[in-house]
Amino acid sequence: MKPPAAGCRFHAGAYVVKCKERDADSILLALHRVQIGCERVTDQTGNRGPMKRYSAFAIAREALRQHTGWGRAWAARTPRRKYDVVIVGAGGHGLATAYYLGRNFGITNVAILEKGWLGGGNTGRNTTIIRSNYLQDPSAAIYEKSRSLYETMSQDLNYNVMFSPRGVIMLAQTQAEVRGYKRTAHANALQGVTTEWIGPDRVKELCPIMNIDGPRYPVLGGLYQARGGTARHDAVAWGYARACSDMGMDVIQQCEVTGVRQTGGKVVGVTTTKGDIDCDKLGLVVAGHSGVLAQMAGFRLPIESVALQALVSEPIKPCMDIVVMANTVHGYMSQSDKGEMVIGGGTDGYNNYTQRGSFHHIEETVRALVETFPMISRLKMLRQWGGIVDVTGDRSPILSKTPVDGVFVNCGWGTGGFKAIPGSGWAMAELMAKGQSPLTDEFSMFRFREGKFIDESVAAGVAH
């Protein structure tokens, strides 16, 4: 690469995009690249450059020039002194909150602070099941909003998140589950969420590799959501980060929040490993670390952090084009596009921050699944990992104001928040921008005190 041309505005540190100039800029930028062979404009120093659209045309264009023209998807920035809004945690929920603050409310003076790397928490560790067949009305509202946003997420973000609505079945293997899922199917019908109760023959038809006559837990039917499915978890985080960066927001990695500063009961900023940062509003969106951040802000949450594990097998030929969850035996499985069988189970029973779970839970999960899917008994498992999930008493999330003025929390998604990322971001942004959102009203952290639980624990058993 040749040295940058002197005085080139694409290389000037203070270059800031103005939206209306962007189209003109991309033409200038293309010329600029051709002229000096410059590889990237948004570089590590945090220069702001226009985002280039991904398209079939872009791939063809880059193919012709050895892929030298791809820019960075998001800029690495150093924090400024002050922002209107600081979001702690660059997982899916934090990034989606920031994205909708910008997109729906025009609030773009926002920083998203991440102690590790983008999506390195549960967002990059989950088994990516997306569904909205919950029992209670407030849940159905936010999860279905979310599922519907997944339908167009790739287009909205111009980033392929590989949303694959391949269908999700939740197996009923006891009479209690049969009753429970029929009830949920009826509730979903009233809520306008499309699900159906299906019998064992239909289950077998949808998933031929399943043994429905298991000796311990025969399959009695299932709750089927045809538009449920999976998506690429990293891509969700990356797509939002790119869109946030493009709106001028600062996504700052390796920046751990170590304190919450307040005066007179109102937040004024945070202390971080990269210095103090001031803000008017603060969103705590840190999943397993919610208790830690709440403690910094001086309040407690009805949350406990426990390990949840998942594992994947060696890749095999396509054999299962649907997601199956077996809640009685605590196991669920789908096949990734790479061919790996993606398997998850239940949480450990005790508080833990190590992202490492107990081996016997994996053993239990696999043992249970082998009974229902005998063909996996000779599969080799490739990788296993854990994440720290934030579990509330009623297994429903918290999207709420807090006892500290200007501090908001979005947490408690526990074992099942990947599916909720866009809907949660949408709702949380409204709550933070306007102080109220119809989607979050019922999810206040003060609901426990009033006994207004949103009890999904009975309905879901395992709530991924």
Binding site: H289, P302, S358
Partner: protein
Amino acid sequence: MLTLHCPYCGVAADETDLHAGGQAHLKREGPDASDDAFEDYLFMRENPKGVHFERWRHVYGCGKWFYAARCTATLEVFGTYPAQTTEPPQDIRDKITAKRPGWAWGAFK
């Protein structure tokens, strides 16, 4: 696998022989308690990254409840003690202090 020493029967019990019972030393509230205190007792939980006190039951052993002091950040076990107490005994506190100077948990230090 997590292994805890049962303070009653003295065996080193594997996690599969035990049942986790959540936060230890909850202060139970009665009907005349304030709403705040009652909410705290029923729903709010200590969730520290570090020193933590828990209830465990030796379910496939002697069947009794006991307490454990653990570190949730490293999974180190500081010690276990019988459940007939409302606060961690001094020797356990000393052991924790030797390894985690300046620790605090709820009302205990």
